[in-house]
Amino acid sequence: MANYSTNEFKGGLKVMLDGDPCSIVENEFVKPGKGQAFNRVKLRNLKTGRVWERTFRSGESLEAADVMDREMEYLYNDGEFYHFMEPETFEQHQASTDAVGDAAKWLKEQDICTVTLYNGAPLAVTPPNHVILEITDTDPGLRGDTAQGGTKPATLATGAVVKVPLFLEIGETIKVDTRTGEYLGRAKED
């Protein structure tokens, strides 16, 4: 793989650090007028999600990480692996529970997700920002209560639990923001 020098560092660049693929979050060029130049870099470890801060001498370089993001359709879970397919090539990939992580609770079959591949294998999965899911369990709805007022927990078809308005009932489909877990509204009937 290629190497990137500190002057090419920028947000989103994928590099290897201590043997793990990382994504650069922030790169600050630091130089006292009469002193040595450094780059203070924040990197997210793509395996663990942990953010590191590391200082490099300006001019140092890091190996590029073979990491790419692909849009893929989620197919199914066979109990051990989550299966995804590239819509154009029909190439299938299986992702471990570790790779899928918290995204698991939002995965609905046929939804298009972002799968991060590292050396060709799924490393992480990002669900769509908005998903439409059915309520499978919640306390009975309170008739007459409209949009205002309190909320109650509702379990969705994928296992996620979100706060919804009191009037919603089992069997209704709702739209949720997966980044915040926030209820956005009732899904429109297609």
Binding site: E28, F29, K34, G35, Q36, R40, R54, T55, F56
Partner: protein, 317 residues
């Protein structure tokens, strides 16, 4: 996005503030009878500073360099008898780009004959308080700052103690090359951010960071560089010296700089031997300081990044 790159990255309002700031600076020096002078931006000689790279140019079929600062030209003028003077214009440094750096930037540099570093620090504080409308000025030695923040004496601590302190405070991809690099790391990562909102004037730097300042003994008998820096809100704004006037010592420092550059694999360019000749002819005792005008504008206008105060930074230049 690319289609938008014809536009300035600074707002018209920021450029108006820049024009006003340049006018205020010129007014400040006119009132004090300090004369504005010009020195070449294209020079046949490069900087020898161990940590600064000149941008090469070609001119009339021979190598030349863009000036990294007006210092050498101004000192040659001082030796020729020009008296108190300042330069307000462009300087250029290879590879320096980021939120607080642009390879081409505006520098103010001035010299006061017969003054020492502390007298010039007072004038820097006056200029900064006036432009930034800040009254709070704190003046402390490099040693006091390290003792206060890190309980470490930067002059007497062993190399090992310094390296240990660096290790405790930050994660590095390398081991510090020498004590000077350890001190720079602590300064930029730990001390600058802790400096607070007012004007901080830091003086009596370690002798190994003297650059072109004279070295004298401080009250404790430690050899210190008569060099100072001014910071506002942790942003380094100015670097000044009680100037070295000894030509033999100047030549020794150039040679030491070149040795450092050679050992560390930096480019070796022709150094300014005419400065040595100027000092030999006799440069008056003086103090001088260089100040980053773009950063001053960032502070004056409350801008976060240098792009916001330069119409066309390097990506658009």
């Amino acid at each position: 996005m690319t289609a938008d790159l014809w536009r300035p990255s600074a707002t018209i309002e920021a450029l108006r503030q820049r024009a006003a700031l340049l006018a205020d600076i010129r007014q400040f020096f006119a009132e004090r009878r300090v004369m504005e002078v010009e020195v070449p931006v294209i020079s046949r000689r490069a900087t020898s500073d161990p940590h600064i790279e000149s941008i090469p140019a070609q001119c009339s079929g021979a190598s030349a360099y863009l000036a990294t600062s007006p210092e050498f030209g101004l000192k040659r003028l001082l030796a020729a008898g020009i008296g108190d003077c300042y330069y307000l214009g462009k300087a250029f440094r290879q590879g320096e780009a980021g939120g607080r750096h642009n390879p081409e930037f505006t520098m103010l540099e001035w010299y006061r004959c017969g003054w020492d570093d502390h007298q010039l620090m007072d004038e820097v504080a006056t200029l900064l308080s006036q432009v930034l409308d800040i009254r709070q000025v704190r003046s402390l030695s490099y040693r006091q700052l390290f003792l206060h923040e890190l309980q470490l004496d930067p002059h007497s601590a062993s190399d090992k103690d310094l390296a240990r302190c660096v290790e405790r405070e930050m994660e590095l991809s390398f081991s510090p090359y020498d004590r000077s690099e350890s001190l720079d790391l602590l300064m930029s990562h730990r001390l600058e951010p802790a400096m607070g909102e007012g004007i901080t004037l830091l003086y009596d730097f370690p002798a190994e960071q003297a650059a072109l300042a004279r070295v004298t003994a401080d009250k404790q008998g430690t050899q210190v560089a008569r060099r100072f820096e001014a910071y506002v809100g942790g942003l380094e704004l100015a670097n000044g010296y009680w100037e070295l006037t000894d030509s033999a010592e100047q030549l020794r420092r150039f040679e030491a700089d070149l040795d450092y550059r050679r050992i560390n694999g930096h480019t070796i360019n022709p150094f300014e031997e005419r400065l040595v000749s100027a000092l030999q002819a006799g440069m008056p005792e003086c103090a001088g300081v260089a100040l980053g005008v773009d950063r001053l504008l960032m502070l004056a206008g409350g801008y976060e990044s240098i792009e916001e105060v330069i119409a066309f930074p390097i990506e658009r230049a």
